[in-house]
Amino acid sequence: NAGVTQTPKFRVLKTGQSMTLLCAQDMNHEYMYWYRQDPGMGLRLIHYSVGEGTTAKGEVPDGYNVSRLKKQNFLLGLESAAPSQTSVYFCASTDTRLEKLFFGSGTQLSVL
């Protein structure tokens, strides 16, 4: 039982490049989330999904897109990376009882 798996763990991009972060969960959770973590800012919600085929904006959605084509996967895309998107990205999931969030191990992204 792997829980929440994020790939890749590390990535370095040049400004303007694009990439996709993958989040996969094997707990049959309905809700999935993408957060970014920056020093002194805590965890800020980028986008989230309450079920397969649905997505919604969080606190800081600009510059990101997401897709939830399959229940177990939640993809975060950066179409044209900017240095301001340098951050640690965490994916999380939970079930309908909202008892707790299960986090992936994070992706450290640097945009040069």
Partner: protein, 115 residues
């Protein structure tokens, strides 16, 4: 929208107590508490669902005042393993009622316990 945590940082000696506060400008459905060690993912500590509810986890407990839209995390007889950053996460009724189910986190409180 982001809940406000205080203090921003605290340094304790082993065995001392600490309180971390979380305050929201929005009505609250629930409050979550997480601890994060450096370089790791946040780990769930507890959730509080009802006003005035207190829950405990080892020597860590929390209270939730629904009326004041506040929660506090109590760490008693701190241990070296308690060091890390503590986050409160809040869920508001409006989000739950519209099917939003999103958790918004505070900026965190850095706790350092020294021997």
């Amino acid at each position: 929208q982001q809940p406000v945590q205080s203090p921003q940082a605290v340094i304790l000696r082993e065995g001392e107590d600490a309180v971390i506060n979380c305050s929201s400008s929005k009505a609250l459905y629930s409050v979550h508490w997480y601890r994060q060690k450096h370089g790791e993912a946040p780990v769930f500590l507890m959730i509080l669902l009802k006003g005035g509810e207190q829950k405990g986890h080892e020597k860590i407990s929390a209270s939730f005042n629904e009326k004041k839209q506040q929660s506090s995390l109590y760490l008693t007889a701190s241990q070296l393993s308690y060091s890390g950053t503590y986050f409160c996460g809040t869920v508001s009724p409006s989000w739950v009622n519209t099917g939003g189910f999103k958790t918004i986190f505070g900026a965190g409180t850095r706790l350092f316990v020294k021997a």
